[in-house]
């Protein structure tokens, strides 16, 4: 079946599914979705963004975003990169073996620290949970389903945090970790336009997705976005990718939508 997927060219009606932009989507899912969108833009593969309240349940792995291409459904950035590669498009072919190892390591760093910190902030920080996460996560559903679903999700995420040793961390420690991660990314990027100099790779897409979302999402406090703003080359990197890959796509531009969601994010 992988032979048949490779044979089909990228269709015009490829779609990316995520939760509702204005009312429902959370920081971490928005970041993941933006990362996939950026990756596909960098590969020059057209994709429509479709927002559905039940996107999480439609996804084959329960995680978002997922793409629907031809008759295949693939979720999460890692598998999507593989899938796109099978169709003959790749951003990292020009890297040598050591660079590929480095790229994979940095992607794990982003997942390990940034994504986990976003999940922590959303689901383990009581103030954020009460004021932002619960109202948003359950917003498409009537009471009491909205409460039940968000408590269920919160329990799931907290179990996972406990298993990996993050449950005992304080918010300050989590923000420290975010700072450490941004410091490492900033050092690695240096003065280059992209992480592997001239051409963007999936790592650039992933970093852009997370950093841009953190910078443009309004939370209870600005502590998280301040951590990123401390590193000017990272903010310049985000602006550069936004300008190059998202401006000029007015209708579906998630970048512009993210900015508007900043104004109307709370409640």
């Amino acid at each position: 079946s992988s032979i048949s997927t490779a044979a089909e060219p990228w269709p015009e009606n490829a779609a990316l599914y995520q939760q509702l932009k204005e009312e429902q989507i959370l920081l971490s899912d928005n970041a993941s979705s933006l990362a996939v969108q950026a990756f596909l833009q960098m590969c020059n593969l057209p994709i429509r963004v479709i927002c559905r309240a039940n996107a999480e349940y439609m996804s084959p792995s329960g995680k978002l975003p997922f793409i629907h291409v031809g008759n295949q459904v693939v979720s999460e950035l890692g598998p999507i990169v593989q899938f796109v590669k099978a169709k003959g498009h790749s951003l990292s072919d020009g890297l040598d073996e050591v660079q590929k190892a480095e790229m994979k390591a940095y992607m794990e760093l982003v997942n390990n620290m940034l994504l986990t910190a976003e999940l922590y902030l959303q689901w383990c920080d009581d103030v954020t949970v009460e004021e932002i996460t619960h109202p948003r996560y359950g917003s498409p559903y009537p009471w009491p389903l909205n409460r039940i679903l968000s408590y269920q999700k919160q329990w799931e995420v907290r179990r996972k945090m406990k298993a990996i040793g993050w449950a005992g961390k304080t918010l300050e420690q989590v923000l420290e970790d975010v700072d450490q991660c941004c410091h490492a990314l900033s050092q690695r990027l240096g003065t280059q336009p992209y992480f592997f100099n001239k051409q963007p790779t999936e790592l650039d897409a992933l970093v852009f997705g997370h950093l841009f979302t953190i910078l443009t999402t309004q939370l209870i406090t600005d502590e998280l976005s301040e951590k990123v703003k401390n590193y000017s080359n990272l903010t310049a990197f985000c602006r550069r990718i936004e300008q190059q890959y998202f401006e000029g796509h007015e209708k579906d531009s998630s970048a512009i939508a993210a900015r508007s969601s900043k104004r109307s994010l709370l409640r």
Partner: protein
């Protein structure tokens, strides 16, 4: 000088100073940075291990995770990363994340979840180090914790059964080992010729896979096909831990003899390799003289200088 630093951790066997990856990471880092740690391994006569090991105790301060312990040591001026550039420091963080995400699940599985391994090796070994009646309870708890961690982080759909999760985590681990091997290449350590935090982490994760004799060894077999990683572990063991090869294994006399034979062969191979590396280094003009002494096979236990590398 600050109060003496004591490290409480799990002990070792099969030629390793510790079987426990996190304990091994801290021990290796202490050797690399010259930190004078008093290492107390858990054995029957010690207090029951509370919470997570390894634990560093210095006066009133108690610190419990490898990353935090290493931070503490660095603040005490025992810094193995002194010569690293900022980018290399960033690479360190990234590779550690890779190890934790891709290699650790399979490592945990090999030790704590694979039934044959757990029942015939891991559980008896750990139980023998813990005081009764805790020995009846603690290994089981560690095993359940490991399973929980793997299922929660790796076990979502579309992987529905434990066997599918297992297949995925071993695939990831083998790929991770390949990546580590490629990144190491022919260098002695990951950032040149002095070992750093990253070397401590890689060693801590690889050495148990490499040395412990399990019945089910798919990860070990894969690792043995990557000779530069094996050489990396052996170098650190001989140079920084100065362990002789005749440490016994509790698995019985027959296997001990077989192990001894295997180890003797390995040592002979290693001493040839080390002599070769020694020659290469002698020809290269840039290495400071003290590096040469650490490469001699330290059978006679001569003092080597890594202990004196305290940063000012």
């Amino acid at each position: 000088m600050a109060a003496p630093m004591e490290l409480r951790c799990w002990g070792g066997d099969w030629g390793l100073p510790s079987l426990h990856p996190e304990s091994l990471i801290v021990m290796a880092y202490a050797k690399f940075s010259g930190a004078p740690l008093i290492v107390n391994t858990i054995n029957n006569s010690w207090r029951a291990p509370k919470g997570d090991l390894p634990v560093l105790v210095s006066g009133d301060i108690v610190i419990s995770q490898p990353a935090k312990i290493l931070n503490f040591l660095r603040k005490q001026k025992y810094n193995a990363d002194y010569d690293l550039s900022a980018k290399q420091g960033a690479d360190t963080l990234a590779y550690i994340a890779l190890l934790e995400e891709k290699l650790l699940p399979a490592l945990l599985h090999t030790f704590w979840i694979e039934a044959e391994n757990y029942c015939s090796v891991t559980k008896p070994w750990f139980a023998s180090k813990i005081v009764f009646p805790l020995s009846l309870y603690l290994p089981g708890k560690m095993s359940r914790g490991a399973l929980n961690r793997i299922l929660l982080t790796k076990g979502g759909p579309p992987l529905y059964s434990l066997t599918e999760v297992e297949a995925q985590i071993y695939r990831d681990a083998k790929e991770c080992l390949n990546l580590l091997s490629k990144r190491l290449g022919t260098s002695q350590f990951y950032f040149g010729d002095t070992p750093t935090t990253l070397d401590a982490f890689v060693f801590g994760f690889l050495a148990p896979i490499y040395k412990v004799c399990f019945p089910r060894v798919q990860l070990q077999e894969h690792l043995k096909q990557l000779p530069n990683l094996c050489r990396f572990c052996d170098d650190i063991l001989t140079c920084y831990f100065r362990l002789t090869v005749s440490s016994h294994s509790p698995a019985g006399q027959d296997t001990a003899d077989a192990n001894l034979q295997k180890l003797t062969q390995l040592v002979n191979k290693e001493s040839n390799l080390i002599e070769k590396m020694d020659d290469n280094l002698r020809k290269s003009p840039q290495h400071p003289p003290r590096k040469l002494t650490t490469l001699k096979l330290a059978a006679g236990g001569e003092e080597s200088s890594p202990m004196s590398r305290l940063s000012p």
